[in-house]
Amino acid sequence: MFFRVIDKVRLPDLVRGLATEYEVIAPVEKDGRFVYAPLEDPGLLRLDYDTTLLPPKKWFFPAEETLMRFRVADNEVLNDEVAVAPRVLFGLHPCDINALLLMDNVFTGKYPDPYYMRRREKTLLIGVSCTPSDTCFCNVWDTNEVHWGFDVFLTDMGDRYFASCRTVKGAEIIDRFVENRAVIDEDTREFQSVVHDFKDAFHRDVDTTQLPVLLDAKFDSPIWDEFGEKCLSCGACSMVCPTCYCFDVHDRLDPDQKSGVRARTWDSCQFKEFAAVAHGQNFRDSRASRVKYRYYHKQWGYLSKFERVLCVGCGRCARACPAGINPVNVIAALQTGEVR
C-alpha cells in the first residue's frame, strides 16, 4: 500500500481530473436522501451522506439489463456485448466495499458472470470514511473496516484526507489529478487516532455468538410465523441490499415478434414465485418460510461456503422494510424468543 495526504480543499481537483478520463459516479442528494449517480458537477458531491437508497451493486449488476438480443426464426444470438466506459465509483463507505467483495465471490468465482466482470474490471473504487447512522450495524460483522477491494481509500482527518492507495492505478490517479504530499509521522499518528475514534463510534450491540447454531436450534421457532405475519412480501429488503444477488431471466419479444431480448432483473426470495417450479410446486409457499430462509441463507448458508455472513450491516433494509424487519431484530428475536 502507498499513502498520500491530500488537503481537503483540493478534493474538487481530483473529481475534475477523474472526470476527464472516467465517468464519475458519486453520492448526490435526491429528495432529502442520497443516491449514487453520475456526478455532473463536483459541487453536487455529498461525502457527508449517511447511506444511499440503492447500494453500488447497481453499477455492476443493474436492476434490469439486457443479456442478449436474439432472432426468433433461427434462435441466433444477435448481440451479447456489454458496452462499458471506464468508470470511477467515488465515495464508497467501508460496508459497501466489503459488500462488493461478497458479491465478487458469487459473480467472479466458479461461474464467472461476464456482464458483472466487464463492469467490475472497468471500474475504479474510491472509498471514504464515514460516521455511524441510526441504522448501521456494520461493527457487528467487522465490516466498518476495509483492507482491500478499493483503489484508494480516503480517511477524513479534518482539514485533509489520508489517502491509502491499494492499487497501482489508485496511486496513479492520485498523483496525476490532485496535489498531494508524502505522509509524515504526524499524519500517521493522527490517522491511527482517527481510525480508533471511528471504530469507537460504532457501538451497536448485537450478540452473534454461535449464530449458525442458534439458527439451527430455532428452526421451528414460532418467531418465524410472527415475522411471516408482519412481512409484506414486497421484496424491498432484497432490492436495497448490497449483497443480494438473486436475479430472474425473461425472454421478451419485440412487437414484430421477429426478434427479442433476454433480460435479467433483480429478484427477491420474498416473492412467492421465487421458489415456484414446474407442476405448481413451491418450496417456499408461506411468508414465514420465505423470511426464515432469507436469514438462513445470509447468516448461515453463505457463511458455510465463503466464511463470511452475507450482510455488511449497512442498515438499508432496516430503513426500507415497511414492516420493520431487519437482521438486528431478527437476531434479537432468535436470542429472546420474542419478536419486537
Binding site: G32, E64, K230, L232, G235, P322
Partner: protein, 247 residues
C-alpha cells in the same frame, strides 16, 4: 392463418383503446400479427360472429354487457381483459360502494330508458373466465403488445403478482410512507415500474390488489407510520371498489 382479433369496449372512457393507437412506432408491427376483425373505437362495423381472440376493455355495468361477455366467451378461444375497468372494475366500480340506485338517480334521473338493465359495476372476470390480463389505468401499450404476443403464441399469462415496493426501490424513490403519506404500493400488483411514485404521486392501486398482498400487515404499517389504518381501505375504493378482500 393470422388470429382474428376483436377489440370490444364495455363501460369505460375508451382510454385504453386510445392507448393502443398511441403506440405509433409499433402499431403496424402489431397489426401485422393479426387479422383485426373488429375494433369498436376505430371502426363503424359490427362485431362479427367469429373471432379467435377477444380484447375486452371496460367494466360490466349492464345486463347487455353480461350477455355480450357470455357470447364472447363462447366464441373466442382467448379472452384478454385490458385496463383497470375490465380487470378490477376500476373507477366505474366506485358507483357500487354506496346506495347504487340512489347514486344513479342523482346523476341520471329515474328514467328507465337510460342504461337499460343497469347493474352495480363489476370486473370482466366476475362474469366470464379471463385468460390474460393487462392491468393499469391506462394500460401501458408495450405491456399490451407483450400480453397479446403471449396470447397469440399460446404462452401463459405472466402478470406479476408481487407488490410494488421492490420495483419502486429500484427507481430510487423516497418512500411516501416514510414521509407520512399514504401510498398503496405495498399492496398493489407490480409491473408499471412505479411510474406514479417516480413522478411524485403515491400509488393509487390502479393495477389492482396483489394476490400476495398482506393487507393486515399493511394496516399495521399505516398505523406505525402515523396514518389511519382504515385509510388503506378508503384508498382502495378508487380502483378496487369491487374487491373481494376481506377486512
Amino acid at each position: 392463418m393470422a388470429p382474428r382479433v376483436a377489440i370490444i369496449g364495455l363501460a369505460s372512457d375508451f382510454g385504453c383503446q386510445v392507448q393502443i393507437t398511441n403506440m405509433e412506432d409499433h402499431l403496424l408491427d402489431v397489426l401485422g400479427l393479426m387479422d383485426l376483425v373488429y375494433w369498436q373505437l376505430a371502426s363503424s362495423g359490427h362485431l362479427p360472429d367469429e373471432y379467435d381472440v377477444a380484447v375486452i376493455e371496460g367494466a360490466v355495468t349492464t345486463a347487455g354487457h353480461v350477455e355480450t361477455l357470455r357470447t364472447v366467451r363462447e366464441t373466442a378461444g382467448v379472452v384478454i381483459a385490458i385496463g383497470s375497468c375490465a380487470v378490477t372494475g376500476g373507477i366505474p366500480a366506485l358507483a357500487g360502494t354506496g346506495e347504487y340506485d340512489a347514486r344513479y338517480g342523482a346523476v341520471y334521473g329515474d328514467g328507465v330508458a337510460v342504461a337499460r338493465g343497469r347493474q352495480s359495476p363489476l370486473p370482466v372476470s366476475s362474469v366470464i373466465e379471463v385468460d390474460y390480463h393487462v392491468p393499469g389505468c391506462p394500460i401501458d401499450p408495450a405491456e399490451f403488445v407483450s400480453v397479446l404476443s403471449r396470447a397469440i403464441m399460446g404462452l401463459k399469462d405472466d402478470v406479476s403478482e408481487d407488490p410494488m415496493c421492490a420495483i419502486c426501490k429500484t427507481q430510487e424513490n423516497v418512500c411516501f410512507l416514510d414521509r407520512g403519506r399514504a401510498c398503496l404500493g405495498l399492496v398493489t400488483r407490480t409491473g408499471c415500474t412505479a411510474k406514479c411514485v417516480s413522478l411524485g404521486r403515491p400509488c393509487t392501486g390502479c393495477r389492482g390488489i396483489s394476490s400476495e398482498a398482506n393487507i393486515p400487515a399493511a394496516r399495521v404499517v399505516y398505523a406505525d407510520k402515523g396514518l389511519d389504518p382504515l385509510e388503506l381501505d378508503r384508498l382502495f375504493d378508487l380502483y378496487n371498489a369491487a374487491r373481494e378482500v376481506v377486512v
